[in-house]
């Protein structure tokens, strides 16, 4: 079956849904379930649109990487929607468009088409964040996002002027032969995507958005969107711009600073949501760092593990905040004593991000670290590779400190905080936590999955 339906069906449903408002939430649920199941039945071949071969027409690239990303992102999307839709029925059409946009991001094989999908998913994201009831912060997000995508487009057009193509595969060939000249346009595109991916110093919007997020917007932006954008970054870094040498080193250093700064801010914060949002900035940095260095296969799963954990963390904290009325840690003190199941799941998610054994996060984090020292690992960076494992390890230590701080506060014994979670939310959160543990226990199987993303040459594949 053609991968195009993953984009066409949500769009069709979105167009129809504005006429049948009553049914639209169910339509949304149905379509997002379809989008979750469909990738399992997809053929692994490129899809041509309109009957014109690339590069004349637009093509969709369906490979292992795209399939993995689709399953992860659509799965998270479905869960976020299923848990929250009852509260945000008005957003059904917008969420349908967001689903189409995210699938398009992960599938498209054309750089301009990618820009279109960035805008679609971006505008949907601005609208999702309007539910925070903070128009000023949403406005800042909109301006940052629009400037980002404009820079991306500027870089793309300069590249088009040089190469005469918009197709990713052709562009990759061109970039390979003309490394020096493509530097500036690449940086523009990197910055443009960096805004959405929360990289320093283009992440000033994050605090306004995630610091005031609600059940829907928090999980959507921090979990679904973050995973998708990180994977798109991976697609570009692995498939189009295989940067190496000094440029890669500079970018990696910027990412390293992003990671450390994010962790330090999280450490210094006393608000639960701020801790999580700064932590997700750092996590985004780690994922893109791994892609930059050349550990793409593990980075993919790193992004996925992070997305799953962030779903639980933001979901729980936002619900607590909604009920308690503040996200100061001292106010939330002891919230888990009366919600042990939620508390345990939250703890599992936090520990998985931290990278403790038994959890999914451990498998990816440790293998990424080991990957740096594999004898046959060819790094994109010159020489001093060892500094980045240190950064990741130090980041983990800082994470350890603030997550333990957060957990001990939330588990504090004497408490009269009483928060009710819906049974569905409990169920989803527990299932995800169990999934984190299962993936953590069956390390061998995960390693096989990851190995399938690597071709015999030992290089992470995109094509």
């Amino acid at each position: 079956m053609s991968a195009i339906l993953l984009i066409a069906v949500p769009l069709l449903a979105a167009f129809i849904s504005i006429l049948v408002k009553k049914v639209s939430p169910y339509l949304l649920l149905l379509v997002s379930l379809f989008a979750l199941v469909y990738p399992f039945f997809m053929d692994m071949s490129d899809v041509i649109i309109g009957g014109f071969d690339s590069p004349i027409g637009i093509n969709l690239v369906v490979n292992k990487f795209a399939l993995t990303s689709l399953i992860a992102v659509n799965g998270l999307f479905f869960l976020v929607v299923a848990v929250n839709i009852a509260q945000y029925k008005k957003l059904s059409s917008i969420l349908l468009v967001a689903l189409a946009g995210l699938n398009g991001l992960l599938l498209t094989g054309d750089l301009f088409n990618l820009f279109v999908f960035i805008e679609i998913s971006g505008i949907a994201a601005y609208l999702i964040t309007t539910t925070n009831k903070k128009p000023l912060q949403t406005f800042n997000y909109l301006v940052a996002g629009t400037v980002g995508s404009s820079l991306y487009l500027l870089g793309l057009i300069i590249l088009y002027n040089m190469s005469g193509t918009l197709n990713m595969a052709d562009m990759a060939t061109f970039v390979e032969g003309n490394g020096m000249y493509t530097l500036f346009p690449f940086l523009l595109m990197f910055i443009g995507l960096g805004v959405e991916a929360k990289l320093l110093p283009f992440n000033s919007w994050v605090k306004g958005i995630l610091g005031h997020s609600n059940n829907l917007s928090g999980a959507m932006i921090a979990s679904v969107y973050a995973t998708a954008i990180a994977l798109v970054f991976g697609k570009l870094l692995a498939g189009v711009f295989q940067i190496e040498g000094t440029l890669a080193l500079i970018i990696a250093l910027v990412l390293g600073i992003t990671i450390l700064a994010g962790e330090a801010m999280a450490y210094a914060s006393t608000k639960a949501r701020e801790i999580l949002l700064y932590s997700s900035i750092a996590q985004a940095g780690i994922v893109i760092l791994l892609f930059t260095v050349g550990l793409g296969a593990w980075a993919t799963f790193f992004a996925i593990a992070n997305g799953v954990s962030k779903f639980i963390l933001f979901g729980v904290v936002n619900r607590l905040t909604e009920e308690v009325g503040s996200d100061e840690m001292d106010q939330l003190k002891g919230s888990f004593v009366n919600n042990k199941l939620i508390g345990v799941s939250f703890t599992v998610a936090a520990l998985s991000i931290l990278g403790l054994p038994l959890f999914f996060g451990f498998v990816v984090k440790m293998n990424s670290l080991i990957g740096f020292f594999e004898p046959d690992f060819v790094s994109n960076l010159p020489g001093g590779n060892f500094i980045f494992p240190i950064i990741i390890l130090v980041a983990s230590v800082i994470e350890g400190v603030y997550f333990v701080k957060l957990l001990t506060k939330l588990w504090y014994k004497d408490s009269d905080v009483k928060v009710n979670f819906t049974p569905l939310f409990k169920y989803v959160v527990v299932v995800l936590a169990v999934a984190l543990i299962v993936f953590g226990l069956f390390q061998g199987e995960v390693e096989e999955l990851v190995a399938s993303l690597i071709n015999p040459g030992g290089v992470f594949i995109w094509n």
Partner: protein, 110 residues
């Protein structure tokens, strides 16, 4: 020369975005940036003596059309710009309802 005009507009837009504190002015700066970008895209496809890429009864046998692709791209970019501008203005109205001002400095946040 068109490129220079486009780049100057881009610079003006960026400068406006970084210095202006009024919501409407920020949106205008964003639009200037986008217009500069659109001009730039068009300029990429142009070359001297190129014809408009439309077949008519007067088109010569081997027509030397300008590159039509940037023109198609710019159409998309313009429409996307319209979409974001509309959304930005709607947000500006919301902001005004909430704070009673459009000046970022007077809102007591940030």
């Amino acid at each position: 020369m068109l490129q220079f005009a486009a780049i100057i507009l881009l610079m003006l837009g960026l400068y406006g975005l970084l210095t202006q504190r009024n919501v409407i002015k920020i949106i205008i700066s964003l639009n200037i940036l986008e217009i500069g970008l659109n001009l730039f895209i068009i300029s990429v496809g142009y070359f001297e003596g190129g014809l408009a890429p439309i077949f008519t009864s007067e088109t010569p046998a081997n027509p030397n059309f300008v590159d039509p692709l940037p023109q198609a791209l710019v159409l998309t970019a313009i429409v996307i710009g319209v979409g974001t501008t509309a959304l930005g203005l709607a947000l500006a109205r919301k902001i005004y309802q909430k704070y009673g001002t459009l000046n970022l400095d007077e809102m007591g946040e940030n």
